[in-house]
Symmetry: C2
Subunit: 374 residues, 2 copies
Amino acid sequence: MRLLHTADWHIGRRLHGFDLTDVQEDAFKQIEQIAIDEKVDGILLAGDLYDRGMPSENSVSLLNKMIQKLNLEDRLPIYAISGNHDSAIRLSTGAPWFEATKFYMATSIEQAFQPITVGNSQIFLLPYFEPFAAQQYFENEKITHLDQAVKAVVEKIKTLFDPAKKHILVAHFFVAGSSVTDSETQLSVGGLAEVPLSVLSDFDYVALGHLHGRQALQADNAAYSGSPVKFSLSEADQEKGVYILDTENMERTFKALQPLRDVTRLHDSFEKLTNPIYYEKIGRKDYFGITLTDTKPIPNVLARLREIYPNIVSLDREKGYQPSINPRSLNVKNQNPMELLDQFYESIAKEDLTEQQKKWAENALGKANREVQK
Amino acid sequence: MRLLHTADWHIGRRLHGFDLTDVQEDAFKQIEQIAIDEKVDGILLAGDLYDRGMPSENSVSLLNKMIQKLNLEDRLPIYAISGNHDSAIRLSTGAPWFEATKFYMATSIEQAFQPITVGNSQIFLLPYFEPFAAQQYFENEKITHLDQAVKAVVEKIKTLFDPAKKHILVAHFFVAGSSVTDSETQLSVGGLAEVPLSVLSDFDYVALGHLHGRQALQADNAAYSGSPVKFSLSEADQEKGVYILDTENMERTFKALQPLRDVTRLHDSFEKLTNPIYYEKIGRKDYFGITLTDTKPIPNVLARLREIYPNIVSLDREKGYQPSINPRSLNVKNQNPMELLDQFYESIAKEDLTEQQKKWAENALGKANREVQK
């Protein structure tokens, strides 16, 4: 059996104010095509379908369309769970009807104990949950942290193991030791919200959601598929895609997606970035995080760059505007105001005051002094 | 065939700040019981399932439970439409799956032209829609008002009529000449949002939603079921319930619901309302709109009444606090301050200042005068 593993669609997400709808739609179409080309037997969708618990009507419409396409038109079974960004209650709407077409949408902890047997495997769907939900479910007040909660869940799941089958878990949490990016919401609020990999060792494969980079975890029997779309500049260098899992040997193959608009860093001088010879070679519609090597002030820098690169998500200077002299080390009280201004201007603008600027400053200082003496 | 006609559940609605969840749940259970007792073949649910387009998680959970109970457990077909309070997009979530169990959830105008043939009838589901949607659907920019829009829709529906069948329409709009209460949202925003009854004359029955009182419209072939719960004081005297429609003769029978907590007006003196002989005979947990006949000030009146009637939704005076003398007619500048106070107090409190009150006022006035003269 072949399964496609994806997660963290975050429908409705924005990137520094930019609407990602068409990028997400395009990534979806690629995922659908991969599912068809690879003749998969189902989709593992490991949580964070929406970016927020109260998604907009546009987001609801978009996700509904995607799920209907996969499940009703392409007739692909879907094994889905809710993530920490989803409202479990909202996402559960209609779920009892969905199973008739093999769309399994698990949103509460007890559903983890209703394995779906398909092909050579048992699939367990464990949605994102708070330790408190496990405390209630197991009636055990000692469960206060996520690692304890997942351990209890896994112990119970193991009692349901059919030894003749492979065991696949779909889950949404942070596995201890994984590396993070800027775009994931930290799960831990005053608690240890990490699950040690060892807790998951009895599964043949754990299809994880939550972390947005597939490199976040290096493990034989567990992987984050990562998000299909880059959600922050810190993901600029990641390759996004999905896994195809072969349940015979539990080998996974990564299938990359080509972003409609990539998230890219540019690091160069203003002169070079605004030179057609440079920018005509690159995809100017990408989302750019630009770091300028310039030190001098550049009037209207953002507006001028946006004429060339319409989707700038951040702009900074390599060396910042850090003054080269620490102002606190200056003996300020004993210095001539014009000298101080001169030094200050030089430290910020990396150039000297012009003669005209000096004249203006001297006039202003003279006027200010006369006011004080009155 | 027998159908139950209900509408305007408005799950999530509050009554002057009071949560109606348990009242709505109780009304639902009664509706379910009527459906079972009357052995109906289906439920017509004519819009405004939710009170708002973005319902809370509690509301989503409650409505999901109700629909699942009726359709999946009781195996009752449901013929539902979205109303002006619903988000059509949100309510459409899962709809393509629902039809497998005969739960029809229509949320867009084109679904009105997909009649469901069942028993001796064709059922047409016309959700609430804006005239603009009809303008787009019919590609006719002359459609700007609701009456024109519904007329165009009905003309098209009639081309789909099977002459061997009865024709039932489920719809959510304001029929011209109907009477309103305080709890319906006016549909008309700068447009004529009324549908003449004559437009509906070719239907054997029009199961309407939108107006909350079943008496709103008097017609042979069309009725508002009204809401199952009272949503305002102006509905205090209404009897709430559902219709049972017999599709053989198109006769409808009203089945009343008993409210868990009623909405009631009380109109009496404070003394009487706080007398156990009076209040121990009535359902003190009801929602009360109280009008006091008293004219004198009553300290802490609301708090004292709430000790007896915990759910007071409004409190006013029969005669208000209207002063009997128009203060503007007084020759204020030439009058003694004590006389003015005397007149003012009498006009508001309907009684004279006591000797003690006069003494306090004189002391205060004297002190104020001395301050001014300093």
